[in-house]
Symmetry: D2
Subunit: 345 residues, 4 copies
């Protein structure tokens, strides 16, 4: 640890994104975890909740109100949707916040209410939150106090499409995104259809028809990027592999132009890699890492492009992105603690 260790707290440490933050921070050169909260599991050791973290010296899980926030540089909120709002507004102004949930992703309170069914409890804060898609909000993130992590699907699809939408290289009225998602995106909550027995040999579409909550992020972000409404078709599917999102995006546009634009857009990005034209990325090649692989192919049908993007939903899609943003907010190297290679096989 360096002299300038940053004191870090994780709220909601007993979920998968909480555990992933701890995993990443374990080898981060300048983060020190000073508190971990988990309301229902307060009093337990992290190693009882997540035995894979047993080798680490970690604070005992506690309730949020037991934390002394004066002693904290930055908080990661990995709480269920709806809980961050109330807590973040009570924190001292000196504490920086990266929220991994959905509470601050949508700037428009009406949109928030539409997609999440709630009046926002901290509308003033909501206005100040910076959207956490690092590659497109880097400067604002660096100076923000509150950063709202993106949805994991939203990250994948935006990395695949955003440069194409901004440059209007594709038909904005005909964007179809078919996603294949690992079950870890659903978290650790007990649901019958998330049992091993139910998922291990099944492939199943869900949230069909444009009802997935990440649609709100696409509306907001693609609308802003294009300067007009953009309404994509978006369908996720559960596949039997813990981690990973593969987004297959069917587009109308020139495939080689799309490839050139993506290649240029991400030329200097440390974590986004555009494959040579015609190559396809796989989720197995980004697992456990903060990398996103993007492939572009054409189709024998002229004027069609297929852009495919793969990332690890728990890492680049959530906790890795959160640390990338925290690094910026704390004046550290953006890649600090995040250069681990993917785990394969």
């Amino acid at each position: 640890m360096t002299v300038n260790t940053q004191k870090i707290t994780i709220l909601g440490a007993s979920g998968y994104t909480g555990a992933e933050l701890v995993r990443l921070i374990a080898t981060h050169p300048s983060f020190e975890i000073v508190a971990l909260s988990a309301d229902r599991k307060a009093g337990k050791e992290m190693s009882d909740v997540f035995p894979h973290l047993r080798h680490l010296q970690l604070p005992t899980l506690c309730k949020v109100d037991e934390i002394d926030f004066e002693n904290v540089d930055l908080i990661f909120c990995a709480l269920p949707h709806g809980l961050s709002q109330a807590i973040v507004k009570t924190l001292p102004e000196t504490v920086k916040v990266v929220d991994l949930g959905a509470d601050f992703r949508l700037r428009d309170p009406e949109a928030y209410k539409h997609w999440y069914g709630l009046d926002h409890a901290a509308p003033a804060l909501q206005k100040t939150a910076v959207y956490g898609l690092t590659e497109f909000y880097r400067d604002q993130i660096a100076s923000a106090r509150l950063v709202a992590g993106t949805g994991c699907n939203a990250a994948t699809v935006q990395l695949a499409l955003r440069p194409l939408i901004t440059d209007q290289l594709i038909d904005l009225d005909d964007i179809i995104c078919d996603l294949k998602n690992g079950p870890s995106g659903a978290g650790r909550a007990l649901k019958e259809h998330m049992l091993f027995t139910e998922r291990s040999t099944d492939v199943l579409g869900y949230a069909q028809g444009g009802v997935h909550r990440h649609m709100g992020e696409f509306e907001q972000e693609f609308g802003a990027a294009a300067g007009r409404d953009v309404n994509i078709q978006f369908t996720p599917h559960l596949v039997p592999s813990n981690r990973g999102i593969l987004a297959s995006c069917y587009l109308k546009g020139d495939a080689e132009q799309c490839h050139a634009a993506l290649t240029e857009a991400y030329a200097n990005e440390p974590f986004v890699i555009v494959l040579p034209f015609g190559q396809a990325p796989g989720t197995g090649h980004v697992m456990g890492s903060n990398f996103c692989h993007i492939g572009v192919t054409g189709d024998r049908k002229p004027g069609r492009a297929l852009v495919t993007a793969a990332l690890d939903n728990l890492c680049k899609g959530s906790s890795g992105q959160a640390i990338q943003n925290a690094n910026l907010m704390l004046g550290l190297s953006e890649t600090a603690g995040l250069m681990m290679a993917p785990l394969f096989p």
Copy 2:
């Protein structure tokens, strides 16, 4: 076994579709296996090649030229593409043939050459072959001597779309089919990317851009159904579950009309089940069976329909379909030996 037992031979019994034929025939009420060929494994017992069939009394694997075809009612050819042609043309006319490979699927020799890179070795036979999509060629199959089983992807997508294409309920110039495929479709051949280690945590698109050989079937069949050229976009993806194809078809058309048309088209089909509007089928719910589940939803984008179809590639997509067709060719009940329920979980 009844008096009218049909004498059955399987050529290419050492592959997965061969084994699946044996599995199904094991409980078929009127089929008796009289010979099993496997050139490289001739002389071995089937139980050495497939220990799961150990409880069955089966003929020793032999070479094709050791078989007395006079004693055979029907042959299933489960040979690699390109090998059936030469063999089938030497068989006695009295033997009926169901080919599970690609050799007789395409009626046009030019199309065959385009997709398979070969001049056809039995062009006269090719003309007489009936395409084996039972639900749409039932009468011709019943009176055929040679039936060409469909590709497993081709079966899935056609069951999902054919009634919509015939009735022109959807925009024929904008059909996008994204498939999620179990690795068993690739057969038992040794390929590095088919190792357990490579596939078990990976999701990966392949044959992107319209180069998959089943495209030839879509051209032929959808063209005939529509009375015009139909050029779909088709992209398969490997997912880590042995069996199953889930086809997600993104269409322009009225979703409820599509649902009504599919429901009506398959109302009397024993194996094709259209789910209530808005429900999604999963591959885990058809595994090991001859059923195909089809779901239809709309999208918040008006005029869009999502049709999803699930089947077991080795069964309804290949060997189950083959037996369904053989039943018709032999004057048996179409469902004989095929009503086993899916295996879940």
Copy 3:
């Protein structure tokens, strides 16, 4: 269906063993399901609870007290442990019962109380129950009114060892059984460690040290077979494959003698197959079937034998066994409806 159709009811149809019974009965030649109970899901259709059974015409799920038992030949009780006792004792004497739970497995009420922590609610019935290990209780089962299905682990280990224990071919004081178990054995209840995310890449021992409830069955049955106390070491492990138990039994005895004894014991059994000496069975080769494969090898350490047995816990280990027993109780062929081949791959 034949004239002599047997009217069947399943209590507890919303669990995995209930669904497996329905799957098997779907192609049984003489069973007709007349009622299906599931207390918490009463009023639902089976296809809503288990979409893979959608093709079947089945009674709507109901509460137990809505069933007219006068109209029933045989009941399968697939209820959670402890519930069968109270219900079975209220049924008309004319109804035969196969219980798939643990309520009637242990003849000694003290042993029952020791392993299940409850006083038995129907001790008179308990005395009359026949233990459902078909291969060893065939005659008693054929004339029984109430048969108690074995535990799935208990079935596997007994098929592997019982002939060796009866003949005292092995050291009865030194039997070690290491099991590898598919998660479906834990049922459909919601438990965190049974989520896909938790199980899909983990191998984990549980119930270590001799505390698993199936120990009671080993005590009772091996004790009776040997005419003395037999206390085995038994450790199950969860592995990431839905179905299947592989029991590796480390024994002191002559391996070839053990192989000969098992081969002889099961020579005429329709579902138990002893492999040639030195071959190893796999769970993948019995999946979805009622077969049990047993392999025997020696060790370079003289006087040691390794007996390995594989079966499908939901089928031969539970619902398949139950139907095998019901066939006997109803005077049908023991193998009726049970000869389906395993599903591979």
Copy 4:
């Protein structure tokens, strides 16, 4: 990178242990890869062979004889068994060598010939090699020029048992080790039974009866530790999860004494963690890491102990161990580059 960067070469970089070395070295603070060999894939980029390493700047794969060994501090040999011998003996004395294969594990040339069927090509070198089980050969490794990495099974079982054998806390004539192994241990070679389709739902014992080559290591090492012959029973089983070995060791001895001895033996080890008495380790909790978790329980049968150990075969069982040893050989901190937390879920 620090000033004292160590120049590293990997021979056999196109296999899984080669790729794992690269993964680990990617975030190692003082290693720099200067050459990567892969004879059949020479001329290719590592990113073509292993797309998950695409973000790294790596040397193009070359043939061994293209490497300038003068410029190398340490070589990792990840070659198939039998190939290292010939190559290592031609290397300059100044180059340190960590061999991940079996060539130098057995000190006795007769034992080597017995287990590997070959006369050793470099018997003089073989005598100088230090056995690479870090926790027990730390000092010799630190001063060695050539270290022979252990087999992955050998590492797991020795970590579980070695302190108990040295202290003779258990009956040395009755040690039974049942292993559950991820398929990655078999490497990337093309074998039918290693296809995804064959392994993904199967659990299968192999090398039964004491014929596995790692037996040679147990003989050598346990014999030396005990001062007498020790002949364990050892049976590995393939389970469907890429990485991980779970060794369940059935012992005669006092379980609490065993727990105390293991706890004490590993009290200061950075990578070996003994769980509280009665807790069971899982492979899912060490995946991707260099940690080994060990659990001890008793049995209701007095005088029996069950010691269970879990590690990642590619990391702590092979490449992680290799780097741990290389760190010592190069005078670095033993844990450098190895403190990444396991990946879960």
